[in-house]
Amino acid sequence: MWIDRVVELVPAQRLVAIKHVSFAEEHLHDHFAATATLPALPLMPMSLIIEGMAQTAGIMLGHAHQFREKVILAKVSKAEMREDAGPGCTLRYTATMERMETSGASTKGLVELLTPASPASATAPAFRPVGTIDLIFSHLDNNMQGMTFPEHNFVFGEGFKTLLRTSGIQIPG
C-alpha cells in the first residue's frame, strides 16, 4: 500500500489519507542512488505519489459503492508537484469527488507535505500544499468493451482491507 492510514472520510465526497516517507523503504535507496560524481538523493518517486493519491481516491469511490464496483485508475488527468518528499516527511492526500457516474468517476486531489522541523527551524512544521493530482476512474464491469472479468472484486484485496480496518472504516460483508 502507498498510504499508511485514512484520517478523514466524508462518504462519496472527500477522503484524506497520510503517508509517512521512511528511509526504511527500499525504493528510496534507488531513487536516487549515489553516483561517481553525485551523492545519494533519497526522494519519494512521483509515480508512487500518484499511486498514493489513486489509492486515496479509489477507496473513496469504492466506499461510495460499498466496495462492490471494481474501481480501476483509468487516467491521470493532471499531476503536478512543486516540492520533493524525502525521508522523514509526511504526505497528506485529500481526494475530492468531482463526478460520480455509473461508468466511472473523476476526482480532484490535493497533495500536502509536512517537512519535519530541523534544528534551525524557527517555526513549528505544518502541512503545506505542494501539488495537485486529478484522476479518472473506470468501473470495470460497466465498461467491459466485450471483455469479461472475474466476479469477485480483485481490486480491493487484503492490503486495502487491512488499511481500512486499521483506519476504523467498516467493510460491508
Binding site: 487516467k75 468531482e98 455509473t102 473523476s106 479518472i136 465498461n143 468493451q145
Partner: protein, 129 residues
C-alpha cells in the same frame, strides 16, 4: 448558444482532455485517429461535456460501448448492414457516410469527430430549451 460558441468550448475541453494543440482540434478531426484519444478518454470527454454545457449524458448515449466487437453486428472484421442500422439508430449525431463505404469494425472509433461532439451538444441543448 451558437454553433461557433459550442465549437469553441468543445475545442477548449479537448485541448485539456487530450493534451493536443488547439490548432489540431478542427471540426473534421477524428478523436482517435487525429487527436490520439483512447477509449478511456471518452469517459473524460463525457464528464467534461456534462460540466461545460450543464447537460446530462446517459451511458452509451454519445459513444457506443463495445459496438466494434459485438458478435451480433460484426462479421469477418466488418460491421454488418444490420450493425450499421443499429448504430445509426443509437447515434443520430454521427455521420456514417465515409464509414459505410468500408465499415471495418476497428474503425468505429474514427466515426467520432469534433463535429460529432458539436452536433451532439447542439441537439442536447435544443432539447433542453
Amino acid at each position: 448558444m451558437t454553433r461557433d460558441e459550442i465549437f469553441g468550448t468543445v475545442q477548449e475541453l479537448l485541448v485539456d482532455a487530450l493534451a493536443v494543440d488547439q490548432s489540431d482540434v478542427t471540426m473534421d478531426a477524428s478523436l482517435t485517429r487525429d487527436l490520439g484519444a483512447e477509449s478511456i478518454d471518452f469517459l473524460d470527454i463525457v464528464f467534461k461535456l456534462e460540466q461545460a454545457f450543464s447537460i446530462k449524458i446517459g451511458q452509451g448515449e454519445l459513444f457506443p460501448e463495445g459496438s466494434g466487437n459485438d458478435p451480433r453486428f460484426v462479421k469477418d472484421g466488418k460491421v454488418t448492414p444490420e450493425g450499421i442500422a443499429a448504430l445509426k439508430a443509437r447515434l443520430p449525431h454521427v455521420n456514417f457516410a465515409n464509414f459505410e463505404a468500408n465499415p471495418q469494425s476497428n474503425k468505429v472509433g474514427e466515426l467520432f469527430t469534433v463535429d460529432t461532439l458539436v452536433r451532439f451538444v447542439e441537439a442536447k441543448l435544443s432539447k433542453a430549451t
